[in-house]
């Protein structure tokens, strides 16, 4: 998801969390609800300052439960809406997320993940991978999940998140972490060019048309089952059309790293160092975590001797990598829950799978 060289937009220096706000505003989002929690407070603070200036509305909700339900209300009117939160706050939103999936409502949820479980800590973590990719609360519900690894992507994937949410009428999660949110680097705020689709389901008052309802309860014989199959069909289409990934220095690689977000960013440095030592290593970086780039991971693993799956948790995405390939014996997991691995640490892991003496 890098910007094309063709559009020469002036680069600006921003934190990841700011870039999320820039992306949301560029995509026309004028409604933000949220509740304070570290490490994402700069998002609500930025939105609180900006929204009133651009005809939008910022509201600090009384809780994350209220937040997600305010979003449900705004989304039901066909209006773009966003929140951000972390750890316990995202957990509190799960019921509402399930209602959004069931009622087919678009919304964008930014998870600047912190470490858990419980109150955990404010250190960066990728421990929310399962929660973000496997379920949206109860029932057969999924989120679309995008994982930025740069400030640039915090901007562009947020814009994309709004488009995907509208296209599929489903909530989309941006899964970041404390590092990516606080990291400052220059990025190009490319113009937003998508066309926002019509929303012939939105609740606006039944003026000159039949009344509409937005709901997730279906009581008639067979109705809820049919609804579930319909949602499944949608998720199947998402899996088919919305896979996003990056292949990094994969040419001639004998060793492969699979990593996302902050860890992938660190791994890029480690890969460059390893390459300069003559170790042929590359990376397959999932950008969409749901849908997971299963096919691309499978294919990349075919051509290499060993695979390193690196995550800031005790092993979550590694299960999806295992699911993608029969070659489980090639896979080694390196986890660092609740702290960012250094380029040296990942380099050491690369040397290990490459059989290089340290």
């Amino acid at each position: 998801m890098t910007t094309s060289a063709a559009c020469a937009v002036k680069r600006i220096l921003a934190k990841g969390n700011e870039a999320v706000c820039h992306g949301a505003i560029a995509a026309g989002c004028r409604f933000y609800y949220g509740y304070p929690i570290t490490p994402q407070n700069d998002i609500p603070e930025y939105m609180a300052a900006q929204m009133p200036k651009i005809g939008g509305s910022f509201l600090q909700a009384e809780s994350e439960v209220a937040t997600i339900n305010m979003m449900l209300g705004t989304a039901s009117t066909g209006t773009r809406v966003m929140t951000s939160s972390s750890g316990p706050g995202i957990s509190l939103m799960q019921e509402g997320l399930s209602f959004m999936v069931g009622s087919q409502l678009p919304a964008v949820i930014v998870n600047i993940a912190r470490s858990g479980p419980g109150l955990g800590g404010i250190a960066p973590s990728q421990g929310d991978y399962f929660q973000a990719t496997k379920v949206a609360g109860h029932g057969d519900a999924h989120l679309i999940c995008l994982a930025p690894h740069s400030v640039q992507e915090m901007y562009s994937l947020t814009m994309l998140a709004f488009d995907l949410a509208d296209k599929y009428r489903n909530p989309v999660m941006i899964l970041g972490d404390a590092i990516i949110g606080q990291m400052k680097e220059p990025y190009e705020p490319t113009p937003y060019t998508s066309v926002v689709p019509e929303k012939p389901w939105a609740l606006t008052g039944a003026a000159g048309r039949a009344a509409r309802s937005v709901k997730s309860m279906f009581l008639k014989e067979g109705e809820i089952e049919a609804h579930n199959w319909k949602l499944l069909e949608k998720f199947r289409k998402i899996r088919e059309e919305e896979v996003r990934f990056e292949r990094y220095m994969i040419e001639g690689a004998k060793f492969l790293i699979v990593a996302f977000g902050t860890v992938a960013r660190v791994a890029k440095t480690s890969i460059q160092w390893a390459r300069s030592e003559g170790i042929p290593v590359g990376m397959l970086r999932p950008i969409s975590l749901f849908p997971f780039p299963e096919e691309q991971v499978r294919e990349a693993i075919e051509g290499v001797e060993k695979v390193l799956v690196a995550e800031m948790n005790t092993g979550q995405m590694v299960e999806d990598v295992q699911k993608s390939t029969p070659h489980h014996d090639k896979i080694r997991f390196f986890g660092k829950p609740c702290a960012m691995p250094t380029p040296d640490e990942i380099l050491a892991q690369i040397r290990l799978i490459a059989g290089v003496k340290q």
């Binding site: 409604f31 609800y33 509305s57 509201l59 909700a61 009384e62 809780s63 439960v65 209220a66 937040t67 339900n69 305010m70 979003m71 449900l72 209300g73 705004t74 989304a75 039901s76 009117t77 209006t79 809406v81 019921e95 509402g96 209602f99 009622s103 609740l203 606006t204 008052g205 039944a206 003026a207 000159g208 009344a211 509409r212 309802s213 937005v214 709901k215 997730s216 309860m217 009581l219």
Partner: protein, 262 residues
């Protein structure tokens, strides 16, 4: 109105279904007040000419099928969260009329936080609060409004204040918040009470119309649940006007005038 043979039963039109109310058979139990309350809301919306300008919110509870009965745009809420949904709608569409319809389990138990904060923010929404002292839909469990001594499926020995606390008076509680424009408690247990209830519902809706917008309005309606009370419909009506109205006094607890606001 026609009889089974399709003949007009009356020569004169004595009752017309409000446009906002769809011509459907309600699923409510005999003697239940939900139907009457639906009708009052529908009439009010018709009279105020707001049918095409209104978004309603259906609760989790016996009235969840509100969208099958009202010819309005309606959003279905997670249990108790209707005031947060209403906030989200009203902020996105500030010119629309937005109302929630909530039971006592919904509003006074699981949704207590959402109603208090929506009220405190003075959201311009109307809350129709149906207090039948029990959880109707899930089979008559104890609610925060269950009367002392009342037997329910989860207070089989009767509600005891020493372990379950006291029935909560929501209309009074909310009237104490600055953001509330109107708070009243009514019943629909007799034609005279229905008229009063209608007046209150109308006031409640008027509070959010252009030129008013003085904050949240709540109309608590003492209602029956003959099924879960184990009572005949007539006895249930009597209970509302007797024991219930004794503890939950009828009346208007707050009514902001335009002047208060200026």
């Amino acid at each position: 109105m026609k009889n089974a043979a399709g003949k007009d039963m009356f020569s004169k039109l004595v009752y017309e279904r409000p446009k906002t109310l769809l011509d459907r058979r309600l699923h409510y139990c005999p003697g239940c007040h939900h139907g009457t309350i639906h009708k009052i809301i529908a009439e009010t919306i018709d009279e105020l000419g707001q049918r095409e300008n209104t978004v309603g919110i259906a609760p989790v509870g016996c009235a969840v099928l509100l969208y099958d009965y009202m010819d309005l745009d309606i959003l279905e809420a997670p249990h108790g969260r209707a005031p947060a949904l209403a906030t989200g709608i009203r902020r996105a569409l500030p010119d629309r009329v937005v109302f929630t319809y909530q039971g006592d389990g919904d509003l006074a138990s699981i949704g207590m936080s959402e109603i208090i904060h929506a009220a405190n923010r003075g959201e311009n929404i109307t809350v129709v609060f149906v207090n039948n002292t029990t959880y109707g839909m899930t089979g008559g469990q104890m609610a925060p409004t269950t009367m002392l001594g009342q037997k329910t499926t989860t207070s089989p020995y009767g509600r005891d204040f020493r372990t379950e606390g006291y029935p909560i008076r929501m209309a009074e509680l909310l009237a104490g918040l600055e953001g509330v424009a109107y708070s009243a408690r009514v019943t629909v247990s007799s034609p005279a009470h229905i008229r009063k209830a209608k007046e209150a519902v109308r006031k409640g809706f008027e509070m959010q119309l252009k030129g008013m917008r003085m904050g949240l309005s709540i109309i608590e309606i003492l209602s029956t649940c003959p099924t879960n009370w184990g009572m005949k419909p007539l006895d249930a009506q009597k209970r509302v006007l007797g024991e219930m109205a004794d503890y939950f006094p009828l009346g208007v607890f707050k009514e902001k005038k335009q002047a208060d606001f200026e």
